[in-house]
Amino acid sequence: MLRLPEFELLSPTTVSEVTALLAEHGEDALLLAGGTDLLPNMKHELFTPRVVISLGAVEGLRRSRVEPDGTLVIGAMTPLDTLAHDEEVRSRAPALAQAAGLVAGPQLRRMGTLGGNVMLDTRCQWYNQSYFWRSALGFCMKKDGTVCHVVEGGSKCVAAASNDTAPPLMTLGAELVFADANGERRVPIADLWLSDGIYNKRSKGELLVSVRIPPQHAGQRGAYGKLRERGSIDFPLFGIAVRFDVEDETIVDAAAAVVSLQARPLALKKFDAAFRGVPTSGSAFEDALATAADLAYKQCRPMANVPGDEDWRREMAPVYLRRTVRAALDGTGPVHHV
């Protein structure tokens, strides 16, 4: 078995203890939520933190609540499996519940957390490998090396955002609550991402405390579609979340976001324009759907960053868009092959 590198494990019990430890240890420290991604990455020597701060005993991070205005606040340490089955989440954020229910496999969903999935490291077939493997390759710019093996001669890391929960949170306009020693701040999730596969988030040295999903339209319909080879375990080869706000069977607002293409999750441009004011069925709807599928094909350009046939992944973008849109409107998501 691969061994974990040596580290010091700290188990604070309050958010302020965590932020104090983060301030104290800076870049030497990493946060441990469910550990389902961090621990394999440490075994691969992608991370060798001197200090690991476990969040398992921190009070309050698993708590969720609905505020009087209808805002749903989900503690960052909420296990994905809990999220997938939570009635409030299923009704207020159906695509998020569906996405959470498709992360990895059952055991990993019981350990893995929403916060961990949002803050997931980007993934690449040239990066998520053992130290020996990467040394035989000569490393890559994301870790220990200087070159890119996805885009030869490329100057920017294109490791892929692979978090299933990111697209639904983007379509829902979620806000992330971060804490550091100076207090809390709120960041709209769309503003979190950077187009840099080495580290794709505008947040460092902070603790993600909770995720806030603002009140949604009463006629919200949502779904998540996930492309992967197996019916379980695998990271997405492509993921798409859609949200429609429907009044009298007419779409009054729409959003879609995708993941597993490049360093950041992407909001699909002009998706809203394609559907706004369109009825939920009939020829106008079919035209809008075709337009949106074309948009997806144009905007979604998978690269050979995660394992899998990138040409097929690109072909699947419009297919999964169509299926996920229909599933959202029919209330039949998620879109998944098993």
Binding site: R3, F132, E229, R230, P307, W312, E315, H337
Partner: protein, 795 residues
């Protein structure tokens, strides 16, 4: 073959089977289910050191030097080995000893073992490995078998002058070209000829237990090695050779094993290394490979590029089959000599081939070495041929099941390449899948995107070719009787999860009329058990089963004879059954088995018996004619129903019906388990798995995340339909069940996809992207014949 080797298919006593034929629980089922079973990695000895390997980061390089001084200086490090410490080459096939436990002069793939460290714990050993400085001179490397075949320099393995003369120009590992009957005439006479290319991509075993070995040298100098091997005997022989020790000073024990599938058949570097390090350090040494290291050790299914030509008459009768096969062997020979033969030898049933020719060439490439995987050597050619047979049927407008019936070779016959066929239940297998799958209502009649297909196959129940030539028994059994009423069975056979220990228990219980709970088994311990050639080539049920019957009947005659003398009756009247020994003429006269054992011990002295099995003379009268010559062949037919998503290209296998002629199912639960497990594995190889080495010579994803074996939700409904042909020479008529049922699963899927979409898939694996491209090509071709192979017009 001696008379002792033939026991007939019937129950030992007149009133039918009591134990055999029942779904008896596995002997180790509870221990495994409750976590009590001890695997190699569970062994922890006082003072034990941990061993880690340094591996080559180059696909092909000369080793200029290895400096271990910094590693040795690290506190906690007890010893460091390099190739110089284990210079003797070995190989599981004695004719091709081309492996070193640690590379001596060059490395041949990324992951090749270069040095090893023994240290007080794994972390120290890992840290020491990073301190070893190996100096390499990289060489040109070959990843493509065709390039390796046509390029003479550099040679991946240095050749002797004699080999140079034989091996043509390139990096050839083995070539076999054999010709039976007049193939050219057969093709010329045919009404239809289909010619095409087929390719198999390469897959690996993914046993859930990684390889592990523990070694200890006792105060008396005796070396004991516990290893997760499926062939204790060959490990024993190889250790003696490489360590230059008499085999009598070495004991090899196989603990519980977490799956093998052929991947634990070779002697592996870690076994030699832990043994050598235990000898040097005076401490027990353990090595557990990581999953990544298991992918480098590999020995999985060879990639093959296959060109087949099949001729048939208008009525579907085959006239000739011609095959040319390029086999990508990876960096070492392993079982490659046998693989090369098997790629041609094992295709000549269940159909009658009037003429057959094959030309198979295995080449070396700078990739992890290939070897035997469940259905060794014959799964890939079977895929090519069974798809081509469907293409022939399509050309002729004959139903796929019918064309297979038409060419069925029958039982008690001989194949074109001289293999003796005894029992043959293939026709019943076809009947079984036809009925169970509702074939006639489905074939050609399912809605678009949905289809049903079939395929057939045959496989060996062991062969008469032991990897080292000798005339000693291939399987041996010893029985020891205890006064408590217990019978101990000692078998060299390796229980690798297939249930061989349960099998010998059940046979002894059947023969002695005992409760299986009163029979215990000690297996795969070279000090305690008679030699068995191990768990490979599907030989165990047939050979070990027969040896067990032999031993049990000898013991039985002692006990029955003693009791008959005690009672002063004819021995024919004394019967063992229901845990008792009784007089058949006077049922009131009965004693417990334990009492009978004690009577026999008084009269016969300490009780015990031995049994063994050897194959009869078999095989064709030509060089290589004994390779693939089996005392009995199993036969299989599959039908699979698939749904092809025309938008995503994804193939979903809905149902798989597996009809397998196992001769007699000694334990139908275990036979069905093997059938389902085989089909699962074949479907996985068709749709998901790919042992892919990338452009740098690196395994693309050496982990269970990236090497995708199906999960429970990816597995279709599997229907095991057991066919029992009662083989005249098998134990109670039994034949193999562990490997044969894999073969048809891959071509049956391709043939079902044709029924669903009109597209022939000939290039494995059948990924959704490839399916979509094939569907697009078909749409572009419009009404053109979708058979993408050249062919003669129907005359």
């Amino acid at each position: 073959m001696a008379a002792r080797d033939l026991h007939g298919p019937n129950a030992p006593w007149g009133d039918g089977f009591r134990v055999i034929g029942k779904a008896n629980p596995k002997i180790d089922g509870l221990a495994k289910a409750t976590g009590r079973a001890v695997y190699a990695d569970d062994i922890a000895l006082p003072g034990m050191l941990h061993v880690k390997f340094l591996r080559s980061p180059h696909p092909h390089a000369k080793i200029r030097g290895v400096d271990t001084s910094r590693a040795l200086a690290l506190p906690g490090v007890h010893a460091v080995l390099t190739g110089r410490d284990l210079p003797i080459k070995y190989g599981v096939i004695p004719w091709t000893p081309d492996e070193n436990a640690l590379a001596t002069d060059k490395v041949r793939f990324i992951g090749d073992e270069v040095a090893a460290v023994a240290a007080i714990d794994e972390d120290t050993a890992n840290a020491a490995v990073k301190l070893i400085e190996a100096d390499y001179e990289p060489l040109a490397h070959f990843l493509d078998p065709e390039e390796a075949l046509r390029t003479p320099e550099p040679q991946i393995h240095e050749q002797t002058a004699e080999e140079r003369a034989k091996r043509h120009k390139g990096n050839v590992s083995k070539r076999v070209a054999l010709d039976f009957g007049d193939t050219d005439q057969g093709l010329a006479d045919a009404d239809v000829v289909v010619e095409g290319d087929y390719s198999f991509h390469g897959t690996t075993h993914t046993a859930i237990e990684p390889h592990c070995a523990v070694a200890d040298v006792g105060a008396d100098g005796l070396l004991t090695v516990w290893s997760s091997t499926q062939i204790t005997h060959y490990v024993h022989r190889a250790l003696a050779r490489v360590l230059e020790l008499p085999a009598s000073r070495i004991r090899v024990i196989q603990p519980h094993l977490g799956g093998a599938f052929g991947g634990k058949s070779d002697p592996f570097a870690l076994e030699f290394v832990v043994a050598k390090l235990a000898a040097i350090t005076g401490r027990p040494c353990k090595c557990l490979w990581t999953r990544e290291e298991v992918f480098y050790a590999h020995r999985g299914r060879h990639p093959m590029r296959m060109h087949y030509t099949t001729g048939a008459m208008r009525d579907g009768r085959l006239t000739a089959v011609d095959a040319k096969i390029l086999i990508d062997g990876g960096s070492y020979s392993s079982f490659g000599l046998v693989t090369t033969y098997y790629s041609g030898q094992l295709l000549t049933g269940p159909y009658d081939f009037p003429a057959y020719r094959y030309d198979s060439t295995r080449v070396f490439t700078n990739k992890p070495p290939c070897g035997p995987k469940r259905g060794h050597g014959s799964v890939q050619p079977r895929f090519a041929f069974e798809v081509q047979l469907d293409q022939v049927a399509t050309k002729l407008g004959i139903d796929p099941i019918e064309i297979r019936r038409k060419n069925f070779q029958g039982s008690a016959t001989k194949t074109i390449n001289g293999q003796r066929i005894t029992s043959n239940g293939f026709a019943q297998c076809l009947d079984a899948i036809e009925t169970a799958s509702d074939w006639r209502k489905k074939r050609g009649k399912l809605p678009a995107g949905r289809g049903i297909g079939c395929a057939g196959s045959m496989y060996i129940s062991g062969t008469n070719y032991p990897v080292y030539p000798n005339d000693m028994p291939q399987a041996g059994i010893q029985l020891k009787v205890d006064r408590s009423g217990l019978v101990m069975v000692f078998t060299g056979g390796n229980d690798i999860g297939q249930g061989s220990n349960s099998l010998v228990r059940d046979i002894v219980a059947e023969e002695l009329g005992m409760d299986p709970g009163d029979v215990r088994v000690t297996a795969a311990d070279t000090d305690l058990c008679p030699v068995d050639l191990g768990a490979y080539s599907s030989r165990v049920t047939f050979m070990v089963g027969n040896a067990t019957i032999d031993a049990a009947r000898k013991l039985r005659s002692q006990i029955v004879g003693a009791v008959a003398a005690e009672w002063d009756v004819d021995a024919k009247r004394v019967r063992m059954g229901y845990g008792e020994v009784f007089d058949e003429a006077d049922r009131e006269r009965r004693i417990t088995t334990q009492e009978a054992f004690q009577i026999a011990e008084v009269r016969c002295d300490t009780l015990g018996s031995t049994g063994s099995y050897n194959t009869p003379e078999l095989g064709g009268d030509y060089r290589g004619g004994t390779i693939g010559a089996s005392p009995a062949y199993s036969f299989t037919a599959h039908a699979v129903e698939v749904e092809v998503d025309q938008e995503t290209g994804r193939i979903e296998v809905l149902d798989c019906w597996i009809a397998h002629d196992a001769g007699r199912a000694l334990n139908p639960m275990l036979v069905a388990g093997q059938m389902e497990g085989s089909a699962y594995m074949g479907i996985a190889e068709a749709l998901l798995e790919h042992h892919f080495v990338n452009r740098f010579g690196l395994h693309a994803g050496p982990s269970l995340l990236d090497y995708r074996i199906p999960t429970a939700v990816d597995t279709p409904e599997l229907h095991a339909l057991i066919v029992e042909s009662l083989d005249p020479e098998g134990p109670y008529g039994a034949k193999e069940a562990g490997e044969g049922p894999l073969h048809p699963s891959i071509p049956a899927i391709a043939n079902a996809v044709y029924d669903a979409t009109g597209v022939w898939l000939t290039d494995l694996p059948f990924t959704p992207g490839k399916v979509l491209r094939a569907l697009r090509a078909k749409r572009r071709a419009g009404t053109l014949d979708p058979v993408a192979v050249s062919e003669k017009e129907l005359r």
